[in-house]
């Protein structure tokens, strides 16, 4: 049973629309991450958080924003979707210890038309 949940699983949206991708975890992990991944390709870090009210941008500039008001919730918002945002978005969390592994959600497959 998944301990980290992403919704929606699939989303098709028009250019210029504002969208929010949801991510929630029930494990009490402090650290949460958003990755962008094209099918079968490497992961690109776009945002991360080390705890409530802590957010940082990753290596990939994706024109998105995140918030971390509660430990369990880490939503990603695209203010104005573009076709270049078409991709899979993966949310993950992990414990604070140095060698702790990531627990990933099943992802949101976003298509911007």
């Amino acid at each position: 049973e998944a301990d980290i949940y992403q919704t929606p699983r699939y989303l098709v949206i028009g250019t210029g629309k504002k969208i929010t991708l949801e991510c929630s975890q029930t494990m009490g992990h402090d650290k949460m991450y958003w990755y962008q991944q094209d099918p079968g390709m490497e992961l690109h870090l776009i945002h991360y958080s080390y705890g409530v009210n802590s957010t940082e941008k990753g290596d990939l500039s994706s024109e998105s924003t995140v918030s971390r008001i509660r430990t369990e919730h880490f939503p990603l918002t695209l203010e104005s979707a573009r076709p270049s945002h078409t991709s899979q978005y993966l949310c993950a969390s992990r414990k604070g210890s140095a060698g702790a592994g990531y627990t990933f959600g099943s992802g949101t497959r976003l298509t911007v038309v």
């Binding site: 490497e42 992961l43 592994g101 990933f104 099943s106 992802g107």
Partner: protein, 111 residues
């Protein structure tokens, strides 16, 4: 610049064959993880190695961390169709709060 390069990028083999996937870097990592990702799902952690030269076995999968902690390999014995997926390595540092993911190896095992 990609910190971790994986090779090969794509691999297609027959069921029953053996294979090795490599994860290389010029940087030293305090630990290294391997993940497998199936289509339409998120990556799932397979193993974490933390000591230079460490070898871990998970059924038919053998993971090795290089002596200098800059590289790692994953060896699969007698591959099965269920091994099909994207294999990702990820290196972590004591000073950081994130792991750096490799470029990935897409494995297809043909029945």
């Amino acid at each position: 610049t990609q910190l971790l390069e994986q090779s090969p990028q794509f691999l297609s083999i027959q069921e029953g064959e053996n294979l090795t996937v490599y994860c290389n870097s010029s940087s030293v990592f305090s630990s290294l993880q391997w993940y497998r990702q199936e289509p339409g799902e998120g990556p799932v952690l397979l193993v974490t190695v933390v000591t230079g030269g460490e070898v871990k076995k998970l059924k038919r999968l053998t993971f090795q961390f290089g002596d200098a902690r800059k590289d790692s390999s994953l060896h699969i014995t007698a591959a099965q169709p269920g091994d099909t997926g994207l294999y990702l390595c990820a290196g972590g540092r004591n000073t950081g709060n994130q792991f750096y993911f490799g470029t990935g190896t897409s494995l297809t095992v043909i029945p």
